[in-house]
Symmetry: C2
Subunit: 196 residues, 2 copies
């Protein structure tokens, strides 16, 4: 197993790819970002990294709130478009035919066509170099009703979420296991994986 | 498209799942984390979030370096195991039959069986609540030679990387597009996607 050494680069993969929405009832925009991650559990927090010169930067910084809208396969082309075009030139909600709704807590605009919307309140901004990292506390989560069964249990697998690796968008395929499957009892494996 | 509102939770999906290695030639450990992300491009930076009471926390904090070892489908069961067991009780390199090699810059132990290894130097620690976020600058990247073609071009698709969504590990499936495909010319789409 020979290794090749490369110079430093952003090779972490796969990463999430989400549409970040920001603003209020008057001004709004959407940017697609892959520099996003969960950074804390209690309270739940998400970080997004944005270049300071981007049109959206000042909007997030002013309102101290952003929405994280997950990307399903059916809207991946629109998500890609929101990542290459600027809000200076386009009303992206309009161009993408996206329906706006507003977060209960902060009033941030969210994208109805996205299967899962996470409303975040900015707690901290950390300058890192090319990007500033906005650390947002999750204040509410909205999901499509069709993702829950009649007992209210959420099944995210139904959402056909998209992953991003080295510049390419991928569908999720075969389920390989679940957290703890390496130490699970036979009966649990059978029930959750259909394995003997 | 009816929405259901949920209380705040860590619902960002899919997220990466990586084995973080730490220590030196004497003390080493591996933890599997999903609270990891790229946070800056120039210089490239990765953040990982770790609970302060975890055995690995003090090791990272002392050495100010960590390795991010990407997870391919063939080692996902070992990665899961490294996520549920503690380094207090197990020598995880040994138990998993992993081969150690050391980062050129920091001396951090890395996992040879992982297809891509990212060597990071801690630049900042941000306390967030349950977790502390270590912000690491990427100082070198190592990849399996088999992932590069004879011109040295890296093809990460060959690595069979694993994604993590809502407690489940997934293989990546169908390629849905590439960054910019929504605005690409016909000839580029044809060449890169095999589409007419």
């Amino acid at each position: 197993m020979e290794k090749i050494k490369f110079k430093p680069s952003t090779l972490l993969s796969p990463v999430p790819v989400v549409m970040v929405s920001m603003g209020d009832k008057n001004v709004s925009n959407i940017i697609t970002v892959a520099w996003v991650g969960t950074v804390n559990s209690e309270p739940p927090m998400i970080s997004i990294s944005v270049r300071r010169q981007r049109y959206s930067y000042d909007i997030i910084n002013k309102h101290k709130t952003f929405g994280v809208n997950l990307v399903s396969a059916d809207i991946v082309e629109k998500a890609d478009w929101c990542g290459v075009k600027s809000g200076k030139e386009y009303d992206k909600f309009k161009e993408c035919n996206f329906t706006k709704f507003y977060g209960d807590i902060t009033g941030v605009p969210l994208i109805k066509e996205s299967p899962v919307n996470v409303e975040c309140e900015v707690k901290e901004v950390v300058s890192l170099g090319s990007h500033d990292m906005f650390i947002g506390e999750v204040v509410a989560v909205y999901t499509n009703a069709s993702l829950s069964d009649n007992k209210g249990k959420l099944d995210l697998a139904k959402a056909n979420l998209v992953s991003y690796a080295h510049g390419e968008y991928y569908a999720l395929d075969e389920r390989l296991g679940f957290f703890g499957f390496s130490v699970a009892r036979e009966e649990v494996l059978r029930r959750r994986m259909g394995k003997e």
